[in-house]
Amino acid sequence: MKKYIIIVALAALALSGCSKDFLEEAPKQSQSDVLTLSTFEGLDAATAGAYGPLASNNWYGADFILSNEMQTMNGKRWTNLSQYISGRYTDEYAVHYTQTGTKPLWGTAYYVILSVNSVLEHLDDAGIEATDQQKNNLKAECLFLRALAHFDLVRTYAQPYNNTLTAESAKLGVPVILTVDAEAKPKRATLVETFAQIEQDLLDAEAAIDPAYVRSGGNNDASKVSIYAIQALLSRVYLYMEKWQEAADYATKVINSGKYTMWTAAQVADGDDCVWREDTRKGGEVIFEVWTNQTQSYGTGNENVWAMTTYLGYGDCGASADLLNLYEAGDARKTLVQSDPDGNGLFTMKYFGKGVGSIDANNIIILRLSEMYLNRAEALLHPGVTVTGASAVTDLATIANNRGATPLSATLANVYLEQAKEFAWEAHLWFDLARTGRPMTRTDVSGTSIPTNIPAGDYRWAMPIANRELTVNPNLIQNDGYNN
């Protein structure tokens, strides 16, 4: 009898041996957020991953560049090309956006914001084993990405910072998301609040980052956040906020760092060795760019910038004669607008493939040295703005001299012109027109429904928020002009 009692007792013991975490079964093929966010290695990997969606076709991988260019005189839909035209970017060219057909940036940018907020919320948790500087470097990367995401969102879905419109929605920016909350139904912050947060994130990032820090590993250091990327973006944000002195000062910090050198006319001119075909940057202008390649998680496929802007791909996004006519003869940048072999259309050559084994991808430059000179030139032309040893005329000349172009005199109009020439097809023009209150005008268009003049103050300078967002979040207010 005794031995049977022992058997029963043993069996009972085996059953009650269920420990407290018996009911915890974490997945093996993906990692629970608890695990990812509980170690420095996990936080580091989560920060590295947060860059990925920048290359998404919803953002710099395609739509953010292409739609913003097609809305301006830089873009044109060529209709008699011999290659296949897919029909993409038709509404973008017509600047025709609706609640159900708006830009896809919203979800992707907020996804990056979620990704970096998840890291930021846990960086200071107990048990994260790293030096304060290591944590601060991750913090700076996350804050930069959060600022960039909010900045691109507010540029897309809101009227310009200093607009004088009277509609309630014209004073609104975008929801500012600083915490992880799956149940949040946030309101849109005001434009002032949105920009203040972007500025604050960048200032915090600048203060946190080790000036020598560049994330280790990977292919291209120019695709990683550095103190100069933070400062360069600050310069641009200040320009949008019309804080001219700060814009000039931050441009100067980047220029004076000596880290970046101007490309020459020969380097810029179209050709297999031109700077636009580089895969990784070793010197030159690029401060921050999105690295694309068909082998990574985002930025692949037939709809990326390369495929849409070349006659070798779908070729829906052509360049206009208006753009070509900006350039004088001998300007290296003129070579960056070329016709297809049949002579039926013009195309930008800035995204003609890397030529490094995967020709069907290009890096997408977000910040480069030329912009710093032109930001400073623009700022210096406003009253009371001074930078020791710098002037608008020399900054304008720095650009022109390196492009084989005639230097322009120091007027705001000339700065705008040089910006238009320099940053064509880099998603600057639409936003530069918006923030400076200039109309979008163009003459070389195909089709009758394509607007040739969008005046300042038009509702179309802010894109509609998608209907599905308004449905699930009653706290959102739609932009004026899109209520039907």
Partner: protein
């Protein structure tokens, strides 16, 4: 023979008030059946006394102190009550006769068994022998139409294929709708064991031999099922396998052989060559071209008919067959008992390349270590191999799909009988060549073993531990031979293995007693824990060496692919069951269960499930007791809350997946955390009445129920400012309401002449109440608030324009249009039957028996859109044969009620999937089973040392009354299939010997 099946069973009996006598003596003895097997749990009492009684133990032994001149009354459910005078003896052995027409059967319920009379919830049960009499591959097939409220749908007629069982409708949209199967007290793994797409769908239940089954009980309402808590929401099917029996070894041998074939009972067929040619020539002419012009894209001269004509369906099908052999043994002594069986089954499907083979063995033993300590083991081992061709697809190697669409003038084989793989219009595929040269199969090894130990430390108390291991190992292989495929597909090799292990421990303490003669009590407390682990690997290689088509050292690893997947689940439970019965008139039952599960969110890991139920056996009341002809009248009422945990693991977690950017491997969030992710809850009311009339010749029951599912798991749209656009969460609700009726009538019940009829019918209506704020989900097959589980939102096809033969649709404003894009969409139908049921009759005369069983479903539709789109295409598909029904097309002005005129390369949209013209009333009445059998008289069979010999022949699914223009009206739960293996007709003969 009625037996007491379980030690748990409580006996309740009516004790007569009396006075105790003096001068008692101690009487002991055994209570047994006629064949000597002990009757446990029998009540032994002194006649005329309420206080002097005893119960027999597991060996049938009793002891009682009674006057020497007293009389013992021994009663037990399922037996006739016996009275024996003590006559001064100290040892009185009593033999009980079984009670042939007793209603007091024992039914298995959660964690025990009770007399049918004591059941308070809604349960239906079916006996093993009823299931085993027909040649089925898997036991789930056998439940079809047998039990009220249990709807069995076949999406495929393939041997070994999965069925879809719904008990009282669909209660969930995103979680499982399948019931929990519990075999010998342990929940088992069900569903498809196919993975990697090698076999179409092989049911985990095929390992269960129907002949091993003693009984199946279906627990339908909350009260009956609540003991299974978070897994009980869709009902529970309890399977009890046969146990050993005291006595000399009894052997059973069975053999079956059957044939099966493909046949439509609705007149469905494909066009013959001359019909198709006429159709196609008209289509070409209607398209403004000349079919006799050799330069025409559709050159269809009449001379085509002078060439060879082929019937691809005939070429790709065969007469299927099934054979099954089984031997079993059963016996034991007072300490050790055993039941064992071994079976082999081989079936060849009606399509070449479709085979199913199974080897299965079972050993059930019990052994008494001590008088109060018993151990038992139940082991089932099975190996099966399901060979397949690409059924359930619209792929050219699917013999049915390809056979249907194969042009009659397109050669299937050359003059040497070699099957050709050069037909361009069939993508170079030939189903016979694929069946011949490809490898496509799943092999499955399945072990299910349970060991139990039961200890009775004191009278009326049982402590039992039940520990089980269930494991599946599946090996799947698909090799595309270059002899049967074009270079693009040739030599692809796809193999994989899957391992599943499920460990369960179930531990209970059961106390059962009768107090004061009237108060019968049973209480169970228990604990359970379960751990599941599933792992699979899949290997793919596109360029296998045809002479060695396996993974070997020569494969180019840069182009091979490997995939791994793993899922784990744990569960921990505590539960209690309480039964009370007063005087066999009033019954109360309560269940409570706490389940903890790894599937759910941190804040909702644990859930409480409960039920309460009561019944009143009015026929035992004094005022009804003497009513003539009324033998049973019982009212039942129950309410309870149970759960549905049928979701895949890890959905509550916030997850990170890997992301590569700029050559750096990082992580990105892949899923939002949902700490509150929880069970769907089913709140079920049930009211029922059971009746027995005319000495129980007419018995039946009626149940009405309402089952409301709350916290329905849905993908809810959320603001993208969260970083995600949706979250899987508990919102929404739906309900199922219905009525069930079951009846049996023994019209003639004489010892050698028996005729009975029986039947059941159930009505169920599913209504979606709330979808978390949305008014519908889906586009074509929708879930709509206020409607059922599936509603088809289809384009309103009107018919043909009699003047020109063009298709017409009803537009949004009610006008007619010939433009498909302008057609209105409306809620056109649903695949959910309103009524399901079955009826049967049995006629026995001496050794002869004839039985027939019919099954029906009605009030629903099927949507044969996949086949019709291509094979009823109004000319859009000129490279495919067409349904014969398409031959009835518009030929001249004035034709109405016909198909639109065929136009070669038709673009009108009349062939589009989403036209309501493909919707058909799917009501059917199926002659499920007609069996004739003869049992040879024992006085003859005994001469051959055979106790019993039965021979039979069955016709299965011989005819199905229906109007669906296709092979068979059954198209699964969703009413839509694609190239599915139809239900076939079969005739099976067999012999059973007992010796």
């Amino acid at each position: 023979m009625k037996k007491f099946y379980s030690f748990f069973t409580v006996v309740a009996l009516i004790l007569f008030p009396a006075i105790a006598f003096a001068q008692n003596i101690e009487v002991t003895g055994l209570v047994s059946e006629q064949d000597g097997s002990p009757v446990s749990g029998a009540a032994v009492q002194l006649k005329g006394s309420v206080s002097v009684y005893s119960m027999t133990d597991a060996q049938g032994a009793y002891s009682i102190s009674v006057p020497a001149n007293g009389t013992l009354v021994v009663s037990c459910l399922g037996y006739k009550t016996a009275e024996v005078a003590v006559g001064g003896r100290s040892m009185v052995n009593i033999i009980l006769e079984t009670d042939a027409i007793s209603l007091t059967e024992v039914v298995f319920v959660a964690y025990g068994a009770v007399r049918k009379e004591a059941v308070t919830g809604s349960v239906s049960s079916v006996k093993g022998e009823t299931l085993a009499s027909t040649p089925i591959v898997s036991v789930d097939n056998a439940l079809s139409g047998k039990l009220a409220g249990v709807s069995v749908s076949a999406a495929s007629g393939q041997p070994g294929a999965l069925t879809q069982i719904r008990i009282r409708g669909n209660g969930s949209i995103n979680a499982s709708n399948a019931p929990l199967w519990v075999v010998d007290g342990i929940p088992v793994i069900t569903g498809s064991m196919s993975f990697n797409g090698n076999a179409s769908s092989s049911s985990a239940l095929t390992s269960l031999n129907p002949n091993d089954i003693e009984s199946i009980t279906v627990l339908k309402d909350a009260a009956a099922a609540a003991a299974y808590g978070s897994r009980a929401g869709n009902g529970v099917i309890l399977v009890t396998t046969k146990s050993g029996k005291e006595g000399a070894a009894q052997f059973t041998a069975r053999a079956k052989y059957g044939i099966n074939w493909l046949q439509s009972d609705s007149g469905f067929r494909m066009m013959n060559a001359s019909e198709l040619l006429e159709y196609q020539r008209d289509a070409v002419i209607n398209a403004g071209m000349d079919p006799d012009d050799p330069t025409c894209a559709y050159y269809r001269p009449l001379s085509i008919l002078n060439g060879n004509i082929y019937n691809a369906i005939n070429d790709f099908t065969r007469l299927g067959n099934l054979q099954e052999y089984e031997i079993g043994a059963r016996g034991g002594n007072s300490r050790a008992k055993y039941y064992s069986s071994f079976s082999y089954q081989k079936s060849e499907g009606v399509f070449y390349g479709v085979d199913f083979n199974k080897l299965q063995g079972r050993v059930n033993t019990s052994y008494k270590l001590l008088d109060n300590l018993e151990m038992g083991t139940r082991f089932n081992l099975a190996y099966s191999k399901q060979s397949d061709v690409p059924m359930q697809s619209l792929y050219s190697a699917n013999p049915l799909w390809s056979g249907e669409g194969w042009l009659p003038w397109e050669p299937t084989h050359d003059e040497n009988g070699l099957f050709l793989t050069n037909s361009a219009v069939n993508s170079g595929e030939n189903a016979r060549a694929s069946a011949e040269y490809d490898d496509k199969y799943d092999e499955t090894w399945h072990i299910n073993g349970t060991a139990t130990l039961r200890w009775t430390p004191v009278k009326n108390l049982d402590i039992e531990t039940r520990n089980s291991l269930e494991s599946f190992f599946t090996n799947g292989r698909h090799y595309y031979s270059r002899l049967s495929h074009t270079p693009r597909y040739a030599d692809q090799l796809d193999e994989g293995i899957q391992r599943i292990l499920q460990l369960t421990t179930s531990n209970t303490a059961t106390y059962a007693n009768i107090f004061g003669g009237y108060h019968s009590v049973r209480a169970v407390v228990g604990q359970e824990a379960m751990r599941y682990k599933g792992v699979s690997y899949e290997l793919y290689y596109p360029n296998a060496d045809p002479s060695m088509p396996y993974f070997n050292s020569s494969i180019d690893q840069s182009v091979s692919e490997i995939q791994y997947s793993e899922s784990n689940e744990t569960m921990l439970s505590f539960f209690g069951i309480f039964d009370y019965n007063y005087d066999n008139r009033y019954f109360l039952q309560a269940n409570i269960r706490e389940d903890g599960s790894s599937l759910f969110g941190a804040e909702n890991k644990w859930g409480t499930f409960w039920s309460a139920s009561a019944s009143w056996n009015a026929s035992n009341e004094a005022f009804l007791k003497d009513v003539n002809g009324l033998d049973l009248l019982k009212f039942r009422l129950s309410y309870g809350v149970n759960g549905n945990n049928g979701i895949s693991p890890y959905q509550a977690y916030g997850l990170y997946g890997s992301a590569i950017y700029n050559g750096i491997s990082g992580y990105l969030p892949s899923q939002l955390e949902n700490k509150r992710l929880s069970w769907e809850r089913n709140l079920t009311w049930n009211a029922g009445v059971d009746f027995g009339l005319f000495k129980n010749a007419l018995t039946g029951s009626i149940d009405v129920y309402r089952r409301t599912t709350k916290d329905l798991l849905l993908t809810k749209q959320i603001p993208q400012t969260t970083g995600f656009s949706s979250i899987f969460t508990n919102v929404g609700s739906m309900k199922n309401e219905g009525v069930e009726f079951q009846m049996n009538y023994d019209i003639i019940a004489k010892p050698d002449f028996l005729w009975s009829i029986g039947g059941n019918v159930a009505y169920n209506k599913t209504t979606i109440l709330d979808l978390g704020g949305d008014d519908h989900i889906g586009t074509i097959t929708q879930q709509v608030v206020g409607k059922g589980m599936y509603t088809w939102f289809l384009y309103d096809y009107y018919g043909v324009n009699p003047s020109n033969g063009e298709p017409l649709w009803v537009a949004e404003d009610g006008s007619l249009t010939n433009t498909y894009a302008k057609a209105r969409q409306y809620y056109a139908g649903s695949p959910e039957p309103k009524f399901v049921g079955g009826f049967n009759t049995v006629l026995q005369w001496k050794g002869f028996s004839a039985s027939a069983f019919f099954e029906f479903k009605t009030g629903h539709q099927v949507l044969i859109w996949n086949e019709n789109h291509y094979l009823h295409s109004d000319g859009a598909q000129m490279d495919m044969n067409q349904f014969a029904s398409a031959y009835n097309y518009w030929r001249k002005p004035g034709d109405t009620g016909v198909n639109p005129k065929p136009v070669a390369g038709n673009t009108s949209g009349s062939d589009d999937w989403y036209n309501d013209r493909w919707l058909q009333d799917a009501s059917y009445l199926r002659v499920k089973d007609i069996t004739l059998s003869y049992t040879i008289p024992q006085n003859i069979s005994k001469k051959f040392h055979i106790n019993n010999m039965r021979i039979y022949v069955s016709g299965l699914n011989l005819y199905c009354f229906n109007d669906v223009d296709f092979w068979d009206p059954e198209q699964g739960v969703t009413g839509i299939t694609a190239g599915a293996y139809p239900l076939t007709k079969s005739v099976v003969g067999g012999i059973e010997l007992t010796f």
